[in-house]
Symmetry: C2
Subunit: 339 residues, 2 copies
Amino acid sequence: MKHKIGILGFGTVGQGISEILLDKKEYLKKKYGFKFDIVAVADFIFGNVYNPKGLNIPQLLKEAKAGKKFTQDVVDWDNKKIIQKSNTTVWCELTYTDLNTGGPAIDHVKTALKSGKHVITSNKGPAALFYPEMKKLADKNNIKFMIEGTVVAGTPVINLTEGPLAGCEISKIRGILNGTTNYMLTEMEKGMSYEDVLKVAQEKGYAEADPTGDVEGYDARGKVTILANIVMGAGIKIADVACKGITGIKPKDIETAKKQNKRWKLIGSVEKKAGKITASVGPEMIDLGHPLAGVMGAINALTFTTDLLGDVTIVGPGAGKIETGFAILTDLLAIHRNS
Amino acid sequence: MKHKIGILGFGTVGQGISEILLDKKEYLKKKYGFKFDIVAVADFIFGNVYNPKGLNIPQLLKEAKAGKKFTQDVVDWDNKKIIQKSNTTVWCELTYTDLNTGGPAIDHVKTALKSGKHVITSNKGPAALFYPEMKKLADKNNIKFMIEGTVVAGTPVINLTEGPLAGCEISKIRGILNGTTNYMLTEMEKGMSYEDVLKVAQEKGYAEADPTGDVEGYDARGKVTILANIVMGAGIKIADVACKGITGIKPKDIETAKKQNKRWKLIGSVEKKAGKITASVGPEMIDLGHPLAGVMGAINALTFTTDLLGDVTIVGPGAGKIETGFAILTDLLAIHRNS
């Protein structure tokens, strides 16, 4: 079969997955038998376009990059109608995240699943707030709700736990879930002060002008919540996760760790003990012999503690245009393998 | 559907997967909807037994552990007949490895696949010598030939590259594929001589009385060959892989590495350059900032260099009764997801 792809939100990630699909079209067909058309794109700035035989993606990319509205195959259908009425078989929900209400992404997801169309999303809103309901709705309609792109997109942890690690019971997850703070801690160990390192991180584009989300641990806390709920079925809310950032770490703390053959890392953790699941984010001194201690710079890593294998650790990049695009692609291929 | 499992070879791994399946029966049913009976076991010491409604596994385990022949449900069918005539839907080929001919495992695999029954194996023979032919035969019959257990069984690398990393082109694999030598190098760094550390490794059961297979790199070479052929389609033979072990590493080499902020590791690597794939095994000094450098003791790790994600590293245990049993289970669940 030929997959008929729809994309909601043609920002960084929407453009990223489009570029990857264009680049890899022949490779994906040859290696996986994966054939597709991108038939619908809906974006609240660029407009809604639809062509059941496939859109002219290079043209759309050119227009979007120039900040212009789409000019070909324009339809006056709203998002609900384009999801329902198009010949799409799978929707990629890549609009902006609202962690309070999940909207408008959650409406898109629901409409698509109710129409019997697979949904792939990198949007933390529907994943953090409504995963169980959406998964149930997808199961009921015998389709998929895939969310690899919502957590450390460049390191495929959700699909790892659901596929290659299937059969293992996971009792604990500990991870470096925020590349920015890991970069900062790495540089601080080389002798820079927190203030200087933050300035460099901002210059390099790792940290935002307002770095609060990273340095206070809030970004890691959102990811921990999703992991706890999806991988371990915790049913917790963001507010349930104790959270401390790296702003209090001083050069003398770095020295203390060194002397003990340890290294500071901002660790997000989820743990099941006596049937109860707790989650937290905070700086910890990690023994240099542990795989997480060797993870340096702006990368991510997670250690899963399992019943059959003990610890299994995966290390890779975090989110970014290409990395999140990859996460969408890997979910598309998972749907393809099951179809 | 209920999977009807047959087991060829009731040694360590055959008993391991049977114990895991017994322990997890309810969990697997509840979490994955995975229901099964073990209906056939064929072992050249304990005998061949078959019951289409399910064997008494605790009884078989008890007899095998006592070194006694099976007494219940005994049939006078040979292996070929039990594979073909039983109501099995999937066979686990867990007999001893012959890396020269692949026999008798390869005959079991062929017979099962030709009979339209899935095959899962931890046997390096069929995987290293006949993977492309067996994969083709399985594809033709719309069934699966699964081999997670053949390489670093406790770290699910084959299913990782085929599932969560699908869509990435892998240009390089570098890994610590032999836990024994990694343990030895870890201890040598603490100040022990090669000879002393070998003695301890033998006492702990990590190294064999004749340690050649580990310390000369031959074990890692077999794994590198399978990875090169399966993950990268190299079509190479064991003899094509350049191989050097750790026997030449002296305390002064360890010191040299330390001074350069590096650490010795026995690295198996496969690399694609200008369309040509080369593979090798040898000791290398790894920068302490690299995830492979932090892998200490008797564990394994692999770094995949990909086009979309750069480096992704996975760290976990090697082979063992439970670990290899896990690899069989994860393949069973993959078959279940696709069924």
